[in-house]
């Protein structure tokens, strides 16, 4: 069997990068301009042509209404989310609301979903790879910020499918970076990956032990990225221009784009120089006179401008270290990822925080794509030599009465994982429950992202508190979530793979692929490369793959294979699901555990309350929380007094 060529794609907010593994070494594939990264920008021409990459980036100024940049910031988000509101204020292209509050980008009379926009970029990266390798490429690993939630991961996966890729895995960016760093070195180290991308910030703490790459903790902020740093500089320049000439650059979109470009160049120059002179001749005109902008920026001043943003990243680092049970002194290395980390002001601050020099020979723009390529290669090879143990970045929660949530799977739990908890109904003879799935760190439902919801019926109604429903949350190795609810009495069960929120349904994706809208893309970057219509997807739906040889199972010893059926059988021994089958001890144990559970008001499921405002009755239930616990306390004091 000839080995497939696989690629790793770092789908970035500002820039994307593609790599492959050749002769055991990861290498980045340059675009037709010879550049290792390609702008994640898509521009729609009046004639129906679509350009991607650097050519599209130039059109941000010329045709801002029809040129989409930083789409990743909107991936998997609801139209009414804060991030989308913010983007609507900044972006010149039209952001519309689609079905189920999904975000759509409106270009002339056509609406595009976010996965479709990202698919244009992925398709360009695929073309870059095919051009570089001279062969067709189908299988890819695509990276996402570790802090991406389930909807954002699903949307990225959808984008890959639309682009005609078979997405082997969605991989976390910092994990990919650590993989590229430690690959083939047999390191025994604890490292932190500080990943400041264009639109997101992540930090992961990993322990590398020979072939095992174990993520101990991941924390992040999806609302903080290099572009926020850029905005600081843009504001400074605009303010200084206004102070001098009494005219606001922000009022002129064309001038503002010019200013943004100059700010970005200045930032890049600051990576090399201590001082940069920013000159924009004829930025605006006033009373028929051309006004120039000139500003001298020092590395120090830039550091001061962005100091509070840096402090925010270090708060996230504190959290990650605390979650991993390590302190700065326990680390053996710090890996910097993302273009902004090239800036001396940022490097210096990171060095001070971690009290060590960051790893020098790592290219922060390329390391993630290289790690993704290594993983893609490992997944398609017959002798895997690295094992990634990743974690889920955000707590998975179930919505309960009173607008609150109950955590089911804690953040930084290793994946894959599943967890079952038992919940009571809230009302007598309740016939259905709303199973709402949230992801985030707040007990209040509204402060977390809602991943999806479904209504569970078919259980046996009964008095409140008597009806027990088992709710199981499962997360696979890609961080994708599946939830099921079950009545242990009747065995009735219902489940969902959470992808409804702002993602596309399977049917929608199929129809997009069938329409072939993303085939319109004229591969820019000058690649006149393979533009033939794509052959049907190489990867059959996995369910249909039947293998009769063990060759396709990667590096698994025979005795392990032999053990699997036996272990699986042992795991489902009947006595495990219930407490125990022996009547006496079961009674006793069950009683004990029952008393020890939360008061039911803590974990009652809301009654069929999908769109109903919460009644006062519900709020009363919640009040019980404290009073019941107070009673507990009172009992305690009583027994002490006696």
């Amino acid at each position: 069997m000839s080995k497939n060529v696989t690629i790793g794609i770092d789908l970035g907010t500002s820039n994307s990068c593609v790599a492959t593994v050749a002769d055991g070494h990861p290498q980045v594939l340059a675009n037709a301009y010879g550049e290792p990264t390609t702008a994640s920008v898509v521009s729609f021409g009046e004639d129906g042509s679509i350009s991607v990459g650097n050519e599209a980036k130039a059109r941000v100024i010329l045709d801002p209404k029809h040129t989409v940049s930083s789409a990743k910031r909107l991936m998997g988000r609801f139209y009414f989310s804060e991030e989308v509101k913010k983007a609507r204020a900044i972006c010149r292209y039209e952001i519309a609301s689609g079905e189920n509050n999904a975000v759509r980008i409106k270009i002339r009379n056509e609406e595009f979903s976010l996965p479709e926009i990202s698919a244009f970029v992925l398709k360009e990266m695929k073309a870059v790879a095919e051009q570089g390798l001279g062969t067709e490429v189908v299988q890819a690993v695509i990276t996402v910020p570790a802090y991406f939630n389930d909807s954002q991961r699903q949307a990225t996966k959808d984008a890959g499918r639309i682009a005609g890729l078979e997405v082997l895995r969605i991989l976390n960016e910092p994990t990919a970076a650590a993989l590229a760093y430690g690959y083939g070195k047999n390191l025994k180290q604890k490292v932190a990956v500080y990943d400041l991308g264009g639109g997101t910030f992540d930090v992961s703490v990993l322990e590398l032990g020979d072939d095992v790459f174990e993520v101990l903790a991941t924390c992040g902020d999806t609302y903080l990225g290099g572009e926020d740093f850029d905005d600081r500089l843009i504001d400074t320049l605009a303010d200084s221009f206004q102070a001098e000439h009494d005219i606001n650059v922000r009022s002129d979109p064309f001038a503002l784009e010019k200013l943004k470009g100059a700010a970005e160049r200045a930032k890049i120059e600051l990576s090399e120089a201590e001082n940069v002179d920013i000159e924009i001749p004829a930025l605006m005109t006033k009373d028929g006179k051309a006004l120039n902008l000139s500003y001298s920026l020092s590395s120090d001043e830039y550091g001061k401008l962005t100091q509070d943003l840096l402090q925010r990243t270090f708060k996230v680092c504190d959290e990650a270290l605390q979650q991993s049970g390590l302190s700065v002194g326990d680390l053996d290395g710090v890996i910097l990822v993302g273009g902004p980390t090239r800036l001396p002001a940022i490097r210096a601050a990171v060095k001070e925080y971690f009290q060590r020099e960051p790893e020098a020979d790592i290219n922060p723009d390329q390391v993630v794509a290289m790690g993704a390529a290594i993983h893609a290669d490992s997944l398609s090879s017959t002798n895997a030599n690295t094992y990634l143990l990743d974690v889920t970045p955000l707590t998975l929660r179930l919505g309960i009465a009173g607008g609150m949530t109950e955590p089911i799977i804690d953040r930084n739990s290793p994946v894959p994982i599943d967890h079952t908890r038992i919940f009571n109904t809230l009302q007598d003879h309740q016939e259905s429950i709303a199973v709402r799935i949230h992801q985030g760190e707040s007990r209040a439902a509204e402060d977390n992202s809602l991943l999806g919801e479904f209504e569970f019926r078919g259980f046996e109604p009964g008095p409140r508190g008597d009806v027990k429903i088992e709710v199981t949350f499962a997360i696979n190795t890609e961080g994708i979530v599946k939830v099921s609810a079950r009545d242990p009495k009747t065995g009735a069960e219902q489940s969902t793979t959470v992808n409804m929120s702002s993602g596309l349904s399977a049917e929608e994706i199929d129809s997009i692929i069938a329409r072939g809208r993303t085939d319109d893309v004229a591969a820019t970057g000058g690649s006149s490369g393979p533009q033939s219509p794509l052959p049907p997807m190489n990867g059959l739906p996995n369910d249909e793959i039947m293998l009769d040889s063990d060759d396709d199972i990667i590096g698994v010893e025979d005795d392990v294979l032999h053990d699997i059926p036996k272990i699986q059988e042992d795991l489902t021994e009947p006595d495990e699901l219930e407490l125990t089958t022996e009547a006496d001890s079961s009674e006793e144990l069950f009683g004990k555990l029952e008393n020890a559970t939360f008061d039911s008001s803590e974990i009652d499921l809301g009654a069929n309350a999908i769109d109903e405002p919460l009644s006062d009755e519900f709020s009363d239930e919640l009040e019980l929380d404290d009073s019941v616990l107070d009673d507990l306390l009172a009992d305690e004091s009583d027994s002490d007094a006696s």
């Binding site: 143990l389 369910d543 990667i554 272990i567 407490l579």
Partner: protein, 149 residues
């Protein structure tokens, strides 16, 4: 199959042994290694991998492991949802049982994170006025009072 047998360690195994046993179990049953395998096998491996994670999550945490060992003696093989609730409840109780207790305990934690020990002590003492019997509070206060100011 109980967690110790799944990870192939003795019941009383120390935590470092459990950790390395977890690593080798994860290595053997990593879903990545079975990405091209037939569906039935993939599902089986996925189930095993999830159970390995579960075993590790319980055995690496002292209070969960204690509760599990007890349940194991009574014939259970798996850490039950009810036992998880019990552990979560005791962890929850350690952070305060009354609204005010929780509030001031949280403030104390914030101050402690900022390394402002005297302020943390003040808040903890306030928390203790609402929950004079809270052993976890008392213990925390003692630790704080031993810290250099």
């Amino acid at each position: 199959m109980d967690y110790y047998r799944l990870l192939r360690v003795e019941n009383g195994a120390p935590s470092n042994q459990i950790r390395s046993a977890y690593h080798s179990a994860r290595r053997q049953f990593h879903p990545d290694s079975f990405i091209n395998a037939e569906p039935a096998l993939r599902i089986a491996v996925d189930e095993i991998a999830k159970r390995i994670t579960e075993a590790y999550m319980v055995l690496r945490n002292q209070s969960r492991r204690r509760a599990y060992d007890e349940a194991l003696n009574s014939g259970a093989k798996r850490f039950t949802a009810a036992a998880e609730d019990a552990v979560r409840q005791s962890e929850y109780a350690a952070r305060g049982l009354t609204a005010n207790g929780r509030r001031f305990y949280a403030l104390a934690e914030d101050e402690e994170r900022e390394e402002n020990v005297p302020a943390a002590i003040t808040h903890l003492k306030t928390a203790l006025t609402f929950e004079p019997k809270n052993a976890a509070f008392k213990e925390h206060l003692e630790t704080l009072q031993k810290k250099p100011k």
